[in-house]
């Protein structure tokens, strides 16, 4: 199962189930702490943002690729990051006419593997941390995007679809601090 140690950084493998359960416990706790589902969604997105701004450095160090020429290359890099960090293989689809929006479609969502949303949390965006991570990571490379879930397995849809929309290139280099 383990690959030969030729990587620059050591990869401590963690069981996928442990990760899913940890994330689940986190979401359940946040749900208990906050009153409204909207607040929970915002918190998850914020947490994801903080993950994203840090993980981008690691990603660029490992992949050693240069700048992206256009948004399509960016999409490919995001796709590669999912494979690298979460061993998920989304497909990139549904490009908008202006090539400024795309979708990442996941057949299954491993971090939500055992989850069943209770009725009173029907609006909960359980995997919102992923949206935040994408937003945070791309902001550090001066691309401002919005990311949200268009479809979600947990809500009864057949697939989970994460939509990413390009907003603008960030020229000023002051990154937003941690909230």
């Amino acid at each position: 199962m383990s690959r030969p140690a030729t990587r620059l950084t050591d990869t401590k493998k963690v069981s996928g189930e442990l990760f899913s359960l940890t994330y689940g416990a986190l979401v359940a706790q946040i749900v208990k702490d906050y009153q409204s589902v909207e607040d929970v969604n915002k918190q998850l997105e914020k947490m994801g943002y903080n993950v994203g701004v840090r993980i981008i450095e690691d990603f660029l160090a490992r992949t050693k690729e240069g700048k992206c020429a256009d948004f399509r290359e960016t999409a490919e890099k995001v796709q590669a990051a999912f494979k690298l960090y979460l061993n998920m293989s989304p497909t990139v689809t549904s490009w908008s006419a202006a090539s400024d929006q795309f979708s990442l479609v996941f057949e299954a969502n491993p971090i939500a593997e055992f989850v069943e949303l209770p009725d009173n949390y029907a609006d909960l965006q359980y995997s919102n941390i992923l949206c935040g991570a994408i937003r945070g990571a791309l902001e550090m490379v001066h691309i401002e995007v919005a990311a949200w879930f268009a479809q979600d397995n947990l809500k009864g849809d057949s697939v989970t679809e994460l939509r990413v929309k390009f907003i603008r290139k960030v020229e000023d280099t002051v990154p937003a601090g941690d909230d």
């Binding site: 359960l21 689940g24 416990a25 359940a28 055992f114 989850v115 069943e116 949303l117």
Partner: protein, 155 residues
Amino acid sequence: QAYNCLIHFYKRDFVMSGTYYFVIVGHNDNPLFEVEFSSSGREVRKDDHRHLNQFIAHAALDLVDEHMLRTPNMYLKIVDKFNEWFVSAFVTASRQRFIMLHDLKNEDGIKSFFSEMYETYIKQVMNPFYSINTPIKSVHFEKKAQFYGRKFLTG
């Protein structure tokens, strides 16, 4: 005489035609999940029998606990009998007790049903929004119970 016996046998079968009552009992002796199956066509009126079933199941808990300590097996087979009802039990790794009241012996079916419900229960427990020892209200869980009940118990 033989004719009378035959009539009695048929009547018996008609009255008790494979009815099952399944309950998951939590650590506080509270029911977490209940469901009934009946292989006869008629509807089983839950209210009529529910109190009696709960009583029988509850009364059997002490025996289940005794058996549990004496064997490494999860499936405890028949632990008690009340009038025409047999009480079978299955204990999970976390000491949740699955109780089955039944009027026909169906060891293989009941054992398979318990095993499948155990898998389903494990999945339920992995849900971060479900707290252990609380009633199970998941539609998915109920569907699985119905499915396995038809498959292994009532046919």
